[in-house]
Symmetry: C2
Subunit: 397 residues, 2 copies
C-alpha cells in the first residue's frame, strides 16, 4: 500500500502550471509570480540619508578637529541640493534625501545645535559613510530582486511596488469543483432528519481553496447513486482540480472509484498508509487535471487538503512546499493505528522552547476535533509511544 | 520613552468593536464570530458506524462463541434499519449509517466473508461499542461548540456548517484609510526621477489588511506640505483606522504629528523604544478611531503592522492575539541598537528542533530586507549578543 511520501510524489508528479496571466498589482496579493522581479535601477537609487541631520565631510571632524560648520541650505526628501559640501560647510538634510556631492557622512540632528547659519556638534562623525545607505547596497540594477514562482505576500508586494511593477505576470488559478457525496448529507440551509448530517466538507474544502485566492469553485451535493454521481462528475470534467468527499471506502454504496473510471478518469492510487484518511483515491481527468477522492469524515478531509491537495497546488504554481517544522511534543500519546498517524495539535509556550500539545480527538468523524488546533503533527508508524519532549513533525494548517 | 509592551497596552486600550453584522456562511471565511456556535443536537446525532461492516451484538462472540450470523438487511448511510438486531443476526452497515436497535458493535467488512444471507467472521468483536461513534460523544445538544469571537478558519467553517449556521453574526470590518507621505514618493505606475522612490508602503499595508478581509481601504499619496496633509487627513476623519507612513520623525518636514493634532486627533504616545520604527506615533480620531503614524521606511512599516496594528485589530474583533513562539536562534547576532530590536528571520530545520536564522538586513530602508522571511524575532535591549541556541521570541508575519 502506498506510503504518504509515495502518495505526495505520485500526486506532485501530475502537477502542471494552469498558465500565466498579467494582472494589476492591486489584485496580486496571495498569488504566485510567474516572472522574476528585476531591479529597474540601483537600490537605494542614490546615497540616501537614513537620519534627519547634517550632511558633512567626515574628515572635518576626524582629521581637522572642527566642531562647528556653516549650513549652506536645507535639503528635503524628494529634493536635490543646489550646492556642494566642502570642508567647513554642511547641508541640513532630512531622512530619505540624496546625500549632496562632497558630503560623506550624516550627523543626527539630536547631536547638534543650530544657531543661525552655524551648527555646533555635540557628537561628531566617527567614520565616513555614517547614517548613509549607499547607492546599490541593497540591490544592483538588473539584479533579480524576487525570483519567479515566489508567493506574493506583503513583503513581495512591497518589492514589486518599489521596482515599479504596476502589472505583473502571475500563475493562473485553476478551475475547481467540489462534490460532496452521501445519501445522509443535506445542505446547510435545509432541514435535517435525525439520521442525516449536514454537509460541512464543502465548506472546509472551499476555505482551503479560498486561502489560495480560488474564490468560487463549483460545488455539488450528490447522493450515493451511480447515475447521480455520473451526472455530477460529467458536469465538471473540464475542471483542473476535482475534489470529492465520501464514497471511496469499502461500503456497498462507495461508487466513486468505479464511476470515475467509467468516465475515463485514470486511477493513480487508491488507499494509502495514513490515519485518518486511508481510503484516499487519486487520479487524473481526461484533460490532465487532478481528481482527489477524499474519505467523507471531516478530519480526513482537512488532513488531506493540507498533506495532498496543497502540495499539488503549490507544485502547479511552481512555488516551494511548506515544509513541516520539528517541535517538541509536550504531551504523551500511545499509538492508535498501524499507519502514520496525523493528529491535531496546538502550539503552547511554557518552557524555554514552544512545543505541541495534542487536542481531544474522539475519532476522525469528530466535528470538533480540529477546532482550536494550529495544525497537525505526525505520529510515525514505527513509534509506539510519543513521549514528552520527542521532536515531532508539525504541519501548520 | 514608551516600551513596546507599554505601547501595545496603550494601543489595545483604545480598541472597540466595529459592530456586528449577519452574513452568509459563504462570506464568513477569515472573519470573526460575534456569536457562539451552539450544537443544535447531539454530535454524532445518533450512534454512527465508523466502518463499513456488520452491526452485531458483541455478546454473540464474547459470551456465546458464535462465528457466523444471519444477515437481516443492508443499511446505507442516510437510511434507517427496518429491523432490529437480535442474537444470531446482524445487519450489514455502511460508514455513517445509524447503528440499528439491538446492535452494540460493528465488525469491519475486511474481517468477514458473506455467503448468501450468512456472514462468517475471521475476527470477532472484542468489546461492545467497537467501531461505533456514540451519540453525543463529540458534543451534547446546546453545548457551545465554538466560542464567540473565534477566528473563522477552515475548521470553524466546518463546525458552523455541520450545526446549520447558513447565516452567522460576525464582527464588522473597519473603514481603513492609508496615507503615504513624502515629497520623494511617487505612485507605482508613474515615472520616477533619480532622487525619488516609488510608494511601496501602501501596498505592504494594504496586504496586511487584506489578510483580515479588509479589501479596499482608501489610499492617498500626500506630499510633505501642511496644507496637503491637512486636506488628506480631513478627507478620512470618518474612518475607524487611519495609517500614515512617513513624516513622524525629527525632520523639518515631518508635519504629521502637528497636522493630526490641529485636526483634533489626540496623541497617546510618540516615539517608542524599538528598532526599527522608534518614531511611531499613536493617537485617536475625534470619532474614537485609531491613528497609527508609522515611520516611512519599509521594514518599520511591516514590523509596526505586525506588532501594533494587528493587536489593535484583533482586540477590536475580540479575538485572541497571536502570541510569539519561542524558538532556538541558530545564528549569532551582536546588538545593534540600545532598544529592543526586531529583525527578519527564516525558520530552518537542520537539527532536532526547528530554529531561526537571521536574514541579510542592511538597514530598515532595505527594500529586500524582509523578502523570504517567515517573521521577525526579538533581540532584547538588555542582551549584548544573541548566541547560537538562545531561545528567542518569534512573531510569524
Amino acid at each position: 500500500m502506498t506510503t504518504v511520501a509515495e502518495a505526495v510524489q505520485l500526486i506532485t508528479a501530475q502537477a502542471k502550471s494552469f498558465g500565466k496571466e498579467k494582472i494589476s498589482i492591486d489584485e496580486a496579493y496571495n498569488r504566485v509570480l510567474a516572472q522574476p522581479i528585476i531591479a529597474d535601477r540601483d537600490y537605494p537609487p542614490f546615497n540616501r540619508a537614513t537620519m534627519d541631520g547634517y550632511a558633512v565631510q567626515a574628515a572635518d571632524f576626524l582629521e581637522k578637529g572642527m566642531n562647528s560648520l556653516q549650513v549652506l541650505e536645507n535639503l528635503f526628501a524628494g529634493g536635490v541640493a543646489t550646492q556642494q559640501v566642502t570642508s567647513g560647510t554642511c547641508i541640513k538634510i532630512m531622512t530619505g534625501a540624496p546625500v549632496p556631492q562632497g558630503a560623506d557622512a550624516v550627523i543626527r540632528v539630536e547631536d547638534t545645535r543650530q544657531e543661525g547659519k552655524t551648527v555646533y556638534f555635540t557628537t561628531t562623525a566617527s567614520r565616513a559613510g555614517q547614517n548613509i545607505a549607499k547607492q546599490g547596497e541593497d540591490a544592483r540594477k538588473n539584479d533579480i530582486l524576487i525570483p519567479q514562482n515566489q508567493w506574493i505576500d506583503a513583503t513581495v508586494m512591497g518589492g514589486m511596488a518599489v521596482t515599479g511593477y504596476a502589472e505583473v505576470l502571475v500563475e493562473k488559478l485553476p478551475k475547481v469543483a467540489i462534490i460532496s457525496t452521501g445519501n445522509e448529507v443535506v445542505q446547510v440551509g435545509q432541514e435535517v432528519q435525525s439520521h442525516q448530517i449536514r454537509d460541512s466538507n464543502t465548506y472546509a474544502i472551499r476555505s482551503f481553496f479560498r486561502h489560495y485566492q480560488i474564490q468560487s469553485p463549483v460545488t455539488i451535493l450528490a447522493p450515493d447513486s451511480k447515475t447521480a454521481l455520473t451526472e455530477a462528475i460529467q458536469s465538471v470534467l473540464d475542471t483542473n482540480i476535482l475534489v470529492l468527499s465520501g464514497g471511496v471506502s469499502k461500503g456497498d454504496a462507495d461508487y466513486v472509484p468505479e464511476v470515475l473510471q467509467a468516465l475515463g478518469v485514470q486511477q493513480i492510487f487508491h488507499r494509502i498508509q495514513i490515519k485518518p484518511g486511508a481510503p484516499l483515491w487519486f487520479g487524473t481527468l481526461p484533460n490532465g487535471g487532478a481528481v482527489f477522492g477524499l474519505p467523507g469524515n471531516p478530519v480526513s478531509v482537512q488532513v488531506a487538503c493540507r498533506l495532498f491537495i496543497e502540495p499539488y497546488l503549490r507544485t502547479c504554481f511552481g512555488t516551494r512546499l511548506r515544509e513541516p517544522m520539528l517541535l517538541p511534543f509536550l504531551s504523551q500519546k500511545p499509538k492508535k493505528a498501524k499507519f502514520d498517524e496525523y493528529f491535531p495539535c496546538k502550539i503552547v509556550t511554557e518552557g524555554a522552547i514552544s512545543g505541541l500539545v495534542s487536542l481531544r480527538n474522539n475519532s476522525s468523524g469528530d466535528i470538533g476535533a480540529t477546532l482550536g488546533s494550529d495544525g497537525i503533527a505526525l505520529h510515525p508508524h514505527d513509534t509506539e509511544m510519543l513521549i514528552k519532549d520527542t521532536p515531532v513533525q508539525f504541519f501548520f494548517w
